[in-house]
Amino acid sequence: MITTLKSFQYFHPNTVEEAVQILNKYGDRAKVLAGGTDLIPSMKRQKIAPQYVVYINDISQLKHIDFGAEEGLRIGALVSHHSIASSSIIREKFQLLAKACNKVGTPHVRRMGTIGGNICMAGPSQDTIPALLVLEAQMKVVSLQGERIIPVDEFFTGPFQTAITGEEIVTEIQIPCPPSDSVADYQWVTKRTVVDETLVGVAALLGMDLDRGVCKGARIALGSVGPKPFRAREAEEIIKGEKLESKLIEAVAQAAAEETKPRSRADYRRREVGLLVKSTLEHLWSQLR
């Protein structure tokens, strides 16, 4: 570890347009700096040594939280975990995202760290990702060439890898309104202490067919138990059109556990996946009935 950062050339664009122009010029030799809670430690640990650092945190265009019944939720990439966790609209309608953001790091890290930085870091245990997976979010990505929308499940390509190029920045996270009559939650256990990396994270969303009293469908996403957070599709299938009785919940939990590929503490993580899926589903089902 070094205690002083290696020299770099510094840019501080005030608009997205300026930012992407700089990135277009320097590509992979440049790094975007948002809250810095990941980039600065990575530089000190000499994992990366960018020649150009593009500080985007002053771009006021990217600090919005907008909500409309039609278009859903739009969060600027530079919104901090703290702001998301304390946003009344998010706490009301996207409670699991508020909960996930409130899990990230320490109070200081939550104030400094941004949601954009969290997803671009793209580690297997990043806490916002399982929530974004079940909310079926999409990322708005901008470069000098224009913008594109990347669905969340295509955004993460591997551990610490995303689908965006060095010329692009994420500008917005777009989250559709959850299906009516649905509830969702994020639950986790950490590795050792309360403020710690997530050992297993489970996000789940249950949609209800109120007429028939059954589950219309479920989305379940698992964090920290594979190269990247992912949807447990086989487990989800089991729930469709069913009542969530305890036997079924057991089966779903087991299916979810089987879909995981943890690297360390594998048996324990699988066991935790089963338990957390179970407790999350039980909690949600009890809310629906």
């Binding site: 570890m1 020299s7 590795k191 050792r192 202490t193 403020v195 935790e272």
Partner: protein, 765 residues
Amino acid sequence: MERELSVVGKRLPRIDAPAKVTGEAKYTVDIKLPGMLFGKVLRSPYAHAMILKIDKSKAEKLPGVEAVITSEDIPVKLFNSGLTDLLVPEEIAKNDPRDQYVLSNKARFVGDAIAAVAARDRKVAEAALDLIEVEYKALPAVFDVVEAMKPGAPKIHDFANGNIARHISFPGAIGDIEKGFQEADVMIEETFNTTKQLHCPLEPSACIASFDSIGRLTVWSPTQLLYLARHKIADIFDIPEGKIRWITPFVGGSFGNALTLRAEPICIALARKTRKPVKLEYSSEEQFIATQSRQPFTIAVKMGVKNDGAITALQGKLTANSGAYYSLSGTTTNVCMAMFATLYRCPNVSVEADIVYTNIPISGGYRGYGNPQAMWALEQVVDVAARRVGMDPVEFRLKNYRRAGDPGWTASLPIESCALEECIKLGMDKIGWREKMGGTKEGVKRRGIGMAIQRHVSGTQPMQMTHSNIMIKMNVDGSADLMVSGCEMGQGMFGVLAQIAAEELGLQIGKIHVVNGDTDETMFDDGQHASRTTYVIGNAIIETARQVKQQLLERASKILATRVDDMYVRDGQIYVRGDLENKISVEDITRRATYNFEGQGRNIAGKCSYVPKGNPPPYSAVFAEVEVDINNGATKLLKIVFAHDIGRAINPTNVEGQLEGGVMHGIGYALTEEYMVNGNNGVVESDSFTNYKIPSTLDMPNVEVIIVEQPTPSGPFGAKSVGECGLNAVAPAIANAIYDATGARVRDLRITPEKILEELSANIL
């Protein structure tokens, strides 16, 4: 005694606190000298490797670099980086191998110091490291003690066959162990493992060294043992000791981390080479991987017990992982054995230990020394034994513990005082022992309680040479300068020693100025180790203060025309007994003594050398309440009750603070702190606060401290020690509580959910 205490026993604010809350307090890392260079250390990426060649030419050419040094540039004198070998005669000290150089010529762990640079600023120094080219030849490495002792294992030091650095038989062994086993009705055999706990002071190790034009060296460093550090450095570098001034500024936590040399030798070598002041600050990562930490032990215990609960035999076979070098492994192992063997009465005791080298970072000394390791094993075995003979674990302990009058940690020194029964009684009430014992046996979340006891020391008597040398000089305003060697690392010695001095001198606390941590200004003291400061230095201060008081009273007696014996000092006034009107102020006396126009001038002052007469052991009883989720094995710590036998609390707030902090280390030891080394390449994975988790506010349960005061005869105002006691028995208390809740007995630290689940499933089968 006519006198009521007016300063001792009061919850006075610490005298160093205002400087610390305003940011004014200076730590080593805060000091800056004109023209100062910055040092950096190149560390081995290999766990075990020959160094074939070092090419430093590129680094030397980097603008701003002033020196690049390797083992060839510095004295080739082997030394032991632990400092307390200086406290025993050479014939004993030489049993502890001297196996380290300032910079190594063979890498023995990932992080071993190979080369160092001094440069204009940190950035240049860091860049220069990348330019030093080292050709290594990797050797097979071994990380585990069992593997290390096998025939054919890689040899880490030439002299250590089977990598056994030393075998120690506990000198206090008694009786006939086999006979003891035969007499037993019940035999308990258990093996325990402990983890390499890291001190994690928030201030990483640092040092500043500066030679002046006549070759006098000044060192600023956060060491706990400044005189010993100076002595060892003088020896390594062959500098006359009088030519070294050693200063210890405020220390940002240590917990034993600074009982060994850390950044000092390399920093001094750089200063010697460049003849400029050099500052060497460890990065946080270096603090984690390259400073020394707690010895991991394997402890195999065999205990024989009679059906009535009497212990007939106690045997321990210990293996200590010393890491790459020996350092304090000998003394730590000795303390571990002594604490293990002498907490309980037992006629047949035997303890043997092997200290083994491996290619992991060095083990040094850590708060509690070997006691937490010993208690982790012993206090669980006692829990097992009590349950096997159908006794309440508290009753079992009360039947067997060594108490006042019994032999202490060495047979030659009987236990001076003991208030364990009171501690246990109060602790039991507070935790609700009788109501809660046995736990809840239904549902997913099981509750249980457990307890453990410990006994520690107030200094090193009679194991090591120990003495404290104090000066007190009076100023003409009636205030006193207390000159005492030592280091304020958070333990609160400034305030506590000032309270003792104020009480004995009869001054208000504000009249005491502590002059500390500078070999130019204070006399010899062996340092801040073995929880000795309050007891040893406190007594030394009392003796010195009495001399000063005598001088004050003699002068006052002339003025007040009263016999010395008929006067006393209180709140800065000298009174004649029984006549409150007949008095004179200390200020008046000191002024008249110094500015004396009758040819009787004198700076009223005292000086004494004090060798402690005893070593009264403090006892503690720790109670833990837990809730264990038997589905996922997670433990929630609900409560810790800690009752401590302090003798006298010089400052109760301080005593509580020491214990609350110690308990936090104990909770970490038990539940959160896990030292991890990569089994393939020896890379320390516990290299940061992210990868090695100490408890935060949210991990701390409700901690209740109970102070039991039964003054001990030889203590200053009756005080015994507290510093290390907080953590010694916390982990076994938690483990016993987990057993009470679930029936799972976890024998290896850290207690993980996996280990609990494994025990639970084994129980079901």
